[in-house]
């Protein structure tokens, strides 16, 4: 049915992705990297937090820092409510959420169908995107949760450090 899926041969060569939407774009995140998908949640905005932080949501007795994927893409913030994916990065002992507009279904694709980011892509997208799959209706951009960690984003000048001590309110 889909061009990337046709080349699926055996399980080792395939990867299961969870498709998510943010704005007009379609994105995929490897399913086994996702810890949990929370339904519609409204993160509490944290004053003075970096622009890419959507806020915090309660999660299993903890306060989960949630990244706004729309803000990372440079889109308008849109609705304060969205789907939150929970990631657990055991290497860095960091747990965080990613807020997207909607979560779609699971797709199985061939590992080798991943194509590199086009070299003309802007710098901030380069830093976020892992590569592209060609799908029938359009493209699906693969995301690597590692790159979306709040502490990782904080180090990247493209997304701006926290607004410490003043600055423009908006």
């Amino acid at each position: 049915m889909k061009s990337a899926e046709e080349s699926t041969k055996d399980r080792d060569d395939t990867v299961s992705l969870c498709s998510v939407r943010a704005g007009p774009g379609l994105f995929g995140i490897e399913t086994r990297q996702i810890r949990e998908v929370l339904g519609a949640s409204t993160p509490l905005r944290v004053p003075l937090a970096p622009e890419y932080i959507a806020g915090v949501v309660p999660y299993r007795g903890e306060v989960l820092t949630t990244v706004s994927f729309r803000a990372l893409l440079g889109l308008e913030r849109g609705s304060p409510t969205g789907c939150v994916l929970v990631f657990d990065d055991e290497q860095n002992n960091e747990r965080f959420g990613l807020m997207v507009d909607a979560v779609g279904g699971e797709v199985t694709l061939a590992r080798n169908a991943l194509e590199a980011n086009p070299s003309t892509l802007d710098a901030s997208s380069m830093a976020l995107f892992d590569g592209v799959y060609r799908m029938q209706p359009g493209l699906m951009v693969r995301l690597d949760p590692q790159r979306l960690r709040p502490s990782q984003l904080a180090r990247n000048e493209l997304f701006g450090a926290a607004k410490l001590g003043g600055g423009d309110p908006r």
Binding site: L44, V56, P58, T65, E94, F96, A162, L164, G165
Partner: protein
Amino acid sequence: MVRGRWPDKGIVDELTKEFLAESQEGLERMELCVTELEKRPGDRELVSEIFRTVHTIKGTTSFLGFDRLQALAHTGESLLVALRDGKIAVTSELIGGLLDLRDRLREILCLIEITGTEGARSTDDDRELLALLARLKAANGEPFPNEDPAFQGRDGVHADCPNDLPSKDRTLRIDVDVLNRMMDLVGELVLTRNQILQSAPGAHTFPDLALRLSNVTSELRESVRQARMQSLGHLFGKFPRMVRDLATACGRNVRIEFEGQETRLDKTLLEAIRGPLTHAVRNSVDHGIEPPETRVLEGKPAEGVVRLRAFRHNGSIVIEVIDDGAGISTERVLAKAIEGGLMTPEQASSTTEREALQMIFVAGFSTAKKVTNVSGRGVGMDVVRANVEKVGGSVEVESRAGLGTTVRLRVPLTLAIIPALVVESGGQSFVLPQSSLIELVYVPPRDAPAAIERIGTTELYRLREELLPLVWLDRLLELERRASTEQRGFYVAVLEPEGLRFGLVVDDLRASEEIVVKPLSGVLGDIGLFSGATVLGSGTLAMILDVAAAGARAGIRPPANTSTMANTEPGQGDTARVEESGFAAERSMVIYESRRPGSGQGGNQAWIGIPLSAVERIERVPLSSIEYAGGRAVLQCGGELLPLQDDDAVLPDMEAGAMVTVLICVRPEAHTMRRVGMVVRRVLGISTSTLLAANEELYQGHLAMVDNRVTTVHREFARDLRVAAAILQEVA
């Protein structure tokens, strides 16, 4: 030997872990016993106790295969056998040797904990110590002289002794009964959950179930809290050794005394005050207590006393470090303050003694150059204060020149759950910890324009006789401004974190709640203005404001002249006062009218008082919002079910649609703090009352005088007063 060699770093099996925990505990005890033995050389029981510890270590290590430990414990054991059998006498050299042995054993235990091995580097050589112990055993020392031990023998202090090694105490002993109780409560919780899941939405049993759930959770929380409590003896235990070593090094003659070691404190807090308390004790020995010659000249006993005293007061733990040393000379503190440019001579002349003492807490003032030479105090006192305030506590100093100094640390009972005030600013809720809240002031719309005075860009609010710098929370956090304050009025929360007083302007007050503090992740912690987040009763999240950081960010700096608490008039009008009552026979009370037959007959109203410290707030609610569950009146209040108490039978008299006045009180019960709503007919006001001595014939309870009228203290809240009266007596 292959046994006991751990192939990988950090791999320590369960058995070894248990051995480590047990041995550490044993060594703590051993240290105490050895210092005690120095004072009472003839005490066989102490020798046996030390022997048992060393023997246990020897026994277990031979099994686990730690050669160094075994060799040391073996030699130590034979030394102790000789001591027990009276073959050798207690000398200060022997005491030193035993302490060295204890330190070395502890060092090795720490090494095992970190690396899994005993260490085999050249520095890890025990031959010298083993030789010392063998020599001590052979020496047929003279009997221990009866005069003061601290002056003899051992030179040098264990400045970097293993006492200062990071002791990561990750284990906790819990009474099995407490654990069983917790399990029972968890069972109860599960049953209640099942019932709630099975009950239809809107079922009439729901209020009952909710009440039960609320009770089970608060009991469960209480028992977990109890389990986390440790007695202060754990902390005090290391001081005899420290004081001994320090006194030897400084040429002082010091005795340490304890009081209230059985007082219990949350483990986290215990760890948090370890540093500050050590600092205070060190200061007392190092700078407070004079050299023996000076003491004798001044007519004091040559031996100085440092007393550690702990007790519970008003829901917090007070720990005092009292010494009978030289005290702090306020004149010299002030002279230094003027010299350092912190205040002008004019200001200094109008400074009270109490205010002058506060100077030692000012950062920069308390550097060695400035104060240590003068008064001998203040080294790092700002750090002590910052650390104690970090866990919601406070530090005070009292001193009388020539008579001594008292450093008083005050810490809350628990850390994780704190009383807080929920405020609103820019359409968002924020949480302020009650610990730094002094009072709340409402500025109504008509007063708003005139209430704020400006000096340059600084805005000030005139609170009674004091000018209070204002910080606008919405501006600080760059929130959207709501409707102008001229239309709505605003609230000023008077805060005093780390001794800096300022007013935080917020749009509205929401509720006073006990909140559970949740830590923030790195990125959000970096903002530096929030100490955590919490889930409010309504289920939504709210950020907890770090009050001290907010003040600092807004540019509030320590004033040259730190003023003490403003004079405390009874709260008037819209000023709700959150006040801490000290040890005084005078108490602020909320006075209300009662028409209960028996306490006031024939329309003759009686006055009843509840101590202000027990009253959280006063609410007016419509009669219709009061619900009944299991025959009891309850009120839903900030997500909590509040049982109502209607002593006066006010509710049956009320007409539909009327407003009911409810005093929200915290009732001190045996171990818990429970909230209860007292339904009252009419609140007469808040007034200072003088407690009267109990008169059994007249009334079995406490009476007080308020504005020359006899007032009954509500019987359920009189207990608090009895405790206060007892403390009052003790203080006197």
